[in-house]
């Protein structure tokens, strides 16, 4: 029978993970999509099918536009700051010196922490009076900069982003470190022999060779940035007055604070589609890289 139906063995191995994937990923996604076409409050027993009304409304919603703007700022910062910092750290800490191992562990440490813990730590750091950030600023005479970072509308988003980057940078560093091990040493040596200085070697040899790692870093950073929620919620809950609302926070606020789960689900669907675009671009890039190296 197995000879006549060789697909039975792989299918039986695949069945359980597929079932789990369908139950915990596909089904909830379809559920959200379904609710996005309803006016369900999120707690009531009844709801109505409202067609595309939620989607029509959301694009004229001032708070949704605000969340899109903040998400765009967040995404743009995320694609640059933690990426460049992660690369810089990886370059500085590559090699097997003992001190490098210690520093790598320290920079990697935030990844081991829950985003909620990260948020709480940074709320302490930003505390207006006793936080280390303001104590430091005051100690170097920058009294005017010692402000309530999380309470000011023009600094809250950036302040939360710094906390989020603390974690993301460590992850990027690890990926770049792994990428650096695949840069052939003879190639770097050859560049040096040809008279290239460190900067030229970096730009002309190392960074091009890091392209696969960079694709992974950018894709993961973009996905993490779009779905970032916990750190923001713990630190500001999107405040003050929506100034650190991202799409994920907007979605949660509409669904569970305003008790409009149907409407919040429409934001979730839009967020899902945005993430999907990045994932598709990522896989296309990975496929291209595979072709290149084959």
């Amino acid at each position: 029978m197995l000879r006549r139906h060789p697909w039975i063995i792989p299918a039986s191995f695949l069945a359980l993970p597929l079932l789990v994937y369908f139950t915990f990923v596909i089904l909830p996604t379809m559920n959200s999509l379904y609710y996005s076409f309803t006016d369900w409050s999120g707690y009531g027993a009844d709801f109505n099918f409202v067609g595309a009304a939620n989607f029509e409304k959301i694009f004229s919603d001032r708070l949704f536009s605000n969340a899109i703007k903040n998400t765009a700022i967040w995404l743009a910062l995320a694609m640059t700051a933690p990426t460049l910092l992660g690369l810089a750290l990886a370059l500085a800490l590559q090699g097997k010196r003992k001190v490098n191992t210690i520093y790598k562990s320290l920079f990697y440490l935030p990844i081991c922490l829950s985003p909620v813990i990260i948020g709480i730590i940074w709320v302490w750091l930003y505390s207006p009076k006793l936080g280390i950030v303001n104590l430091f600023l005051r100690s170097i005479g920058l009294e005017d900069l010692a402000i309530a970072w999380l309470a000011r509308p023009n600094t809250a988003l950036i302040a939360v982003f710094v906390a989020w980057s603390w974690q993301q940078t460590g992850l990027n560093m690890v990926i770049f470190l792994a990428g650096l091990t695949s840069v052939p040493a003879p190639l770097v040596e050859a560049a040096k022999v040809d008279g290239a200085n460190y900067w030229q070697t970096l730009v002309k040899v190392i960074i091009p060779m890091l392209r696969p790692a960079t694709v992974v870093v950018l894709a993961l950073t973009a996905i993490n940035a779009l779905k970032s929620f916990e750190v923001i919620w713990v630190m500001t809950k999107g405040g003050p007055f929506n100034n650190s609302d991202t799409l994920a926070v907007f979605m949660y606020s509409e669904a569970f604070r305003k008790l409009k789960l149907g409407y919040g689900s429409s934001a979730a669907v839009i967020l899902f589609l945005m993430t999907l675009v990045i994932i598709v671009l990522y896989f296309r890039q990975v496929a291209k890289s595979d072709e290149l190296y084959e």
């Binding site: 409050s41 999120g42 707690y43 009531g44 309530a148 000011r152 405040g239 604070r257 305003k258």
Partner: protein, 424 residues
């Protein structure tokens, strides 16, 4: 709105000090029992003790603990209700929030235990009507009643020769005195948004009255009306004059309370639970801290007290509704109501509680409630939940940009009108 009936009932208690012991159900209760609540500090510890005692009294019951942080509770309970796996019973704020989940068919009425235990005789009719009755049926049992007033540092007031203000002019003069001394008059911790609502509520109640405020809460008046603009304008005058402790949005309510306790600010507009907080710090009511009622602004406007009422309700999908209902009856025990009230600095809704049991501050507050012809729920419990969120954000925005209050009100009105229209 707790009207005259609350006044009559509380006066009756003050005079008579009735002692009615509720009849506890003696049925054998079986199975798992889940009770969830949002109380922290003393209230959290004591409610846990109450639940444990209740379970210990019924051998067949097995308690499943489900502690939740106060702020997180507001969202997590809705997730549980939506998932049809709620706790058997949970604490909830009377007013718009209970109304919303009653309309969503997520609670079950408790008329059977209400009648069987004659609970109607143990609570003021005003509370029964406004806080426990929804769509014509009783859904909740009250555990504690809060009152919002101005709590102040007595030493600072004495040091600067300031008497508790009774009029708006006196309040402004007191604030100016403290400002001249380099002390912010008002501490406000609006990090979690809700403390800001008390300023809006009080100013509107004192300048436009409770009847107009009810219209506004129900979407029948506009946030751009002269009444609302006037209230905000007065609030703006205080903010622009520099009477508030800087960066209100950076601090939570207890941090603002501590600013007053530490002498960094003179007073804070807060609920009676601040008394429990101060007493937990070792401060003595009437000596280290005291209160005054938010001053009268317009003599022609009838005064109203303001505050939330905490209740316990029974989930429609409760796995053990018998235990949940028996627990609600258990909560009506005057001893439990009094101990909870004393520990948290609040008032017990039960008329069987002896008014002489409270400290001097709370006893005087009982008199304030009795003297005010109206009692109103605070903003986020008095209006649609979606509108409440819009308003709460606007209070934060106001504290950051007080001068833009007219723009803020226009945006609030636009968003609130859309929510009221959608809810019709």
């Amino acid at each position: 709105m707790l009207k005259k009936r609350l006044l009559v009932a509380i006066l009756a208690v003050l005079v008579a000090g009735l002692a009615v012991t509720p009849a506890l159900t003696q049925d054998d209760l079986m199975g798992d029992f889940t009770a969830s609540h949002y109380f922290g500090g003393f209230g959290g510890e004591y409610i846990e003790e109450i639940v444990d005692d209740f379970v210990a009294q019924h051998e067949g019951l097995n308690r499943e603990a489900s502690p939740v942080d106060h702020e997180q509770f507001k969202e997590s309970i809705l997730v549980q209700l939506a998932g049809n796996n709620p706790p058997d019973t949970f604490s909830y704020w009377a007013g718009g929030l209970i109304q919303a989940i009653v309309d969503g068919e997520r609670l079950q009425p408790i008329g059977d235990i209400w009648e069987a235990n004659d609970l109607g005789s143990q609570f003021p009719q005003g509370i029964i009507d406004s806080a426990l009755t929804y769509n014509g049926e009783i859904y909740a049992v009250p555990l504690t009643l809060h009152w919002v007033g101005m709590f102040y540092n007595t030493a600072l007031f004495a040091e600067h020769g300031v008497m508790p203000p009774t009029t708006w002019d006196e309040l402004v003069a007191a604030a100016e005195t403290f400002k001249m001394a380099g002390i912010p008059a008002f501490a406000l911790g609006s990090l979690n948004r809700w403390p800001g609502q008390f300023w809006f509520d009080m100013l509107l109640l004192r300048t436009a009255g409770n009847a107009y405020r009810q219209e506004l809460m129900n979407g029948k008046a506009s946030y751009t009306d002269d009444e609302v603009v006037r209230a905000y304008s007065m609030w703006n005058d205080l903010a622009q004059a520099g009477y508030f402790y800087p960066d209100a949005n950076a601090y939570d309510w207890d941090e603002a309370a501590n600013q007053v306790a530490n002498g960094e600010a003179a007073m804070t507009l807060m609920g009676t639970w601040i008394g429990g907080h101060y007493e937990s710090l070792g401060l003595v009511a009437g000596e280290d801290f005291d209160y005054f009622s938010f001053p009268t602004v317009d003599e022609d406007i009838p005064r109203a007290s303001l505050g939330p009422i905490d209740t316990f309700v029974v989930s429609a999908a409760a796995a053990n509704p018998d235990a949940a209902k028996a627990f609600l009856v258990h909560l009506t025990d005057p001893e439990i109501q009094l101990k909870f009230a004393l520990g948290a600095g609040n008032l017990a809704p039960s008329t069987a509680v002896d008014p002489g049991s409270y400290n001097t501050v709370v006893t005087r507050i009982l008199g304030e409630i009795a003297a005010d012809p109206d009692f109103a729920f605070n903003f986020d419990l008095a209006t649609l939940p979606a509108v409440a969120q819009i308003g709460l954000n606007s209070f934060q925005e106001f504290m950051a940009n007080p001068g833009d209050y007219e723009g803020i009100l226009e945006r609030v009105q636009e968003a609130a009108a859309a929510e009221f229209a959608a809810a019709m």
